[in-house]
Symmetry: C2
Subunit: 640 residues, 2 copies
Amino acid sequence: MHQVTFRFENNAPEVVVTAAPDSTLLDVARSANVAIDAPCSGNGSCGKCRVKLLEGTVDGPRTQHITEEEYAEGWRLSCASKVASDVVVMVPDIASAYQSRMKTADLSSPQELAIFRALEEKIRAAGIAFENTFVQAELTMDEPTLDDTMPDTERLTRALQAQGYETVKLRYPAVKKLAHTLREGNFHVFAAGLTENGVLTVLDVTTDAQPMYGCAIDIGTTTVTGVLLDLKTGEIKAKASAGNGQIRYGADVINRIVEQQKPGGVARLQDAIIKETLLPLIAVMCKSAGTAAGRILRMSIASNTTMNHLLLGVDANPVRMEPYIPTFFHWDGLQAQELKLPANAAAQVRLAPNIGSYVGGDITAGAFTTGLWDQDEFSLFIDLGTNGELVFGNRDFMMSCACSAGPAFEGGDISCGMRATDGAIEAVQIDKETMTPTLKIVGDAGQKPVGLCGSGIIDVIAELYRTSIISAKGQFVREGARVAHDAHGMGRYILATAGESETGREIAITEVDIESFIRAKAAIFSAIHTMLASLDMDVSVLEHVYVAGGIGSGINMENAVRIGMLPDIDRSLFEYVGNSSLAGAYAMTLSDAANEKIHELAQGMTYLELSTHPGYMDEFVAACFLPHTDAGLFPSSVQE
Amino acid sequence: MHQVTFRFENNAPEVVVTAAPDSTLLDVARSANVAIDAPCSGNGSCGKCRVKLLEGTVDGPRTQHITEEEYAEGWRLSCASKVASDVVVMVPDIASAYQSRMKTADLSSPQELAIFRALEEKIRAAGIAFENTFVQAELTMDEPTLDDTMPDTERLTRALQAQGYETVKLRYPAVKKLAHTLREGNFHVFAAGLTENGVLTVLDVTTDAQPMYGCAIDIGTTTVTGVLLDLKTGEIKAKASAGNGQIRYGADVINRIVEQQKPGGVARLQDAIIKETLLPLIAVMCKSAGTAAGRILRMSIASNTTMNHLLLGVDANPVRMEPYIPTFFHWDGLQAQELKLPANAAAQVRLAPNIGSYVGGDITAGAFTTGLWDQDEFSLFIDLGTNGELVFGNRDFMMSCACSAGPAFEGGDISCGMRATDGAIEAVQIDKETMTPTLKIVGDAGQKPVGLCGSGIIDVIAELYRTSIISAKGQFVREGARVAHDAHGMGRYILATAGESETGREIAITEVDIESFIRAKAAIFSAIHTMLASLDMDVSVLEHVYVAGGIGSGINMENAVRIGMLPDIDRSLFEYVGNSSLAGAYAMTLSDAANEKIHELAQGMTYLELSTHPGYMDEFVAACFLPHTDAGLFPSSVQE
């Protein structure tokens, strides 16, 4: 048994662990919860899991992702390196970049709350009340005496009945601590619960009148975001985000389902999202709001179909295997304790309903927030996450579809790609004459670039095309200081030289990267086109285009049109709606009518299966150009 | 830090454990789950926790429970001995006798099932249907295809709707494994659930048509007994009993409540009953029935008020402190998962309702089984466990009370007392002339005596009194081979000499023991008398006396009358009804009407608080004689 010592470029404390026989460095890292990015889940194809061997030996081939020079310096792919002695390795920052630090939002920033304010206005206007049936009753009881010995539950029930709640049910979390609570409060307490069909179900009894809390969570494949809110006023009390802990088992849903099938996989993936992600995330929010998780009485979760199956520990394999059958679309009656979610054990858990194996609750929740179901004119809703999902329609009908855009929008499949964390290049401009780039970097002033995130990739490709540095096929057609070629003649554009970058490694975008990304944007555009064509329509019918998702925050719509990802229509029709999945979950938490409406929308939405739809492949191939083989579709995308 | 090695007289494998600083041998034994009997919970008063020091030294005084000779041999009270070096101690069999081995009942013995058969007959005759609303539906569904991609939950729901179940709810345990179950069964499965108010709630979906199981449990302070049954037919599939794992924290409810108040005590007592007792008990029953705990869809639990509070992790301290307020009497809606009980996570848990701090669900369940609530004539129900509880009444009214009989009926507070396990003397006859005893011993033929259990104590005192060896005050008044006196003149009767006993220690009953027991029997009789007197009645109104409880199995009614414990009425009116608490729990599991009736009985039963009742103390003092100061109450108890 060999020992593996992980050291970290960012000077985090080193981790020493014993390697199980025959395990790779990635296996060992996973077992020790050491964050090493492996979007391909360790099959050697993505090249992201590189670490530097400082001492000892590992067994394994040099792969295409490591140059001979790098190999000599000690660089190895951790997924392709079996531990062959005691070893010491250095984990570079970029390899652990996915483990995005927990971020708590500053609620004094108007931007943070804008989406919720806008939502409430829009949804109320559509006739959906922002109300629920939670109640909090203040109770003052006589203290028991030798002549008045009724048990605590009966005393509480009678006090509630005196306030008009005829039928009262008590749930375990309230009863378990009732003796203590009543006595601590000198029999003056607050009972919090839910009224349904004339029955008050008490979930919690407290000595203070703290708000009843709800929690809305968006579980993205990459990032998890939550808000903690006052269940009666809707006021947001805290907001935070963190990386989805499952990501070490693969960047996309397929790799995670594969991992779930392995022995112990169900629990491993459930623990990664619940224990490792939601638990600290909710703890941080509760701390910031000055409350405890036990005060959360309702939780609403919006997520894609695979994410909600993995969350529940439900076998997701039939989702990925023909004929692609999820266990559930919608499902009522889930309780926090069934998943050991950090909340009152009897808290109600609402799941945003799925409508297909690849169009999940995040999309139904998101589409709801746009209000497109309340409009006469036609709208398109696009969620650009690890996958791309679309909803098209109006008050009369809605159609959805999903396309496999791959992880390119989030920096996967791109040699210098990374997520939109510190050091990511999120916007690029290129001077046509000098070819010199101007970069906008995520992070504090003076942050040097580390890699390229989704919005940066859109920008750099759009700018390379506009400045005629690359052709419509994505090939380099101009030479210059920033353009280089490798031994095989493959071109690349250098965004930052080794000296300019944070890591001392050049940051460039290669022809292979551009090809990957063109396929991703082509998937989106051809999905839009195919869906509209299936209805005998085209992009001219669109009156609104709502763009949502993690990619979106820095997205330059002009450039997204220029590369042929979004349709070439009046730019004022585009609206970036942020994390609409989270906003939808917020509405579900607060409003029973919104929850019903989201379920109603899901029931009524048709699902177009693109992969078997005639004509989709042709559309896709036609879109694999800048901006498109049919340049007439993009009149405003011209080269200078 | 010192090491403690426990060796066992019964040759169980030795246990080695590190002692926390300043801990006694009993502390160390508890931390290591080594069973050492300590009915007084370690305050030095009972003298039951003696062990023999083989190596090393302990700090602590010799107590009254250890003779100088024994002290020299190494005998120590483990609760009074602090570990002062590495030590090796021997745990005698009697010290671990409480850890009564798990016993599985032989269901081919008609005796084992008699109580349930008799119950069903009696209860049906009283108009209570033995029915519940569990259903098991056999479903055959079309397998999904690319043209029929509805999710599994919808497919299942539609199949159930086709059988007439209009509204279907699915609980988590069924949904979690649904994908697997449907495919394993080729979409031919069995759905088990509960119908209530027109809603079918599915708890389990399986590929086989195994019965739906229910589980009825009696949680006694000392012993826990359960039956596993077919929820539709009522057939008993397994029966088993085990010691209550909480016993190492004290023999009576008060000591356990004290332990619950200590840091971590709530979890410790809950673990002792759930993890250490119910889990193995139910596992044994499931194994014997060829099923799994997940197939248990309803559990009914009858237990005294303290036991059900400790089971639920509910603070029991207000139960023991004036004004003696339990958290609950009755409480609906508990689920197995809330207590992590070994059953289907969504299984319904029914609790037999309490009617006072010291008259619990075991008594309401037990009183139900006697049918006294359906009779015109007056009956008395007596449960002789660690406490004594009484119910008196008929179809028009019922009154209950509890008396603190102490642990004497189960061998506590008696120098050679033990529980009714192997080696216990359970019946005694004494020859008037020779004073020689004839003993009946629990265990296989040839078993030598170890100690004296409750029914044996009743016998020996009755026989000593009949044969005029002791006086009405319980003092020795005849001399002879079997009577001895210590240095202070205290008399004792020798049941087995050191040579005749299993342990090599003499087994005797002392004047102090007899005094203790007279107080216990006086508590019972004076409770009967006081309760009847409070209604202006006396024992002549009694048409039935039902005796239940652990003590009862070997009880000689004649001797119980002779010592003045039970009233001197026609012996044919006495009926031993065995474990009526378990039988009541069985009825609650199987029959919704029985469950309702038990709750109705509990609602209607009055509770007489004896401790503050005028006259009770006088009655008690008057009963502290053999048979009673008013010998006219016991005309048939005469000395020969």
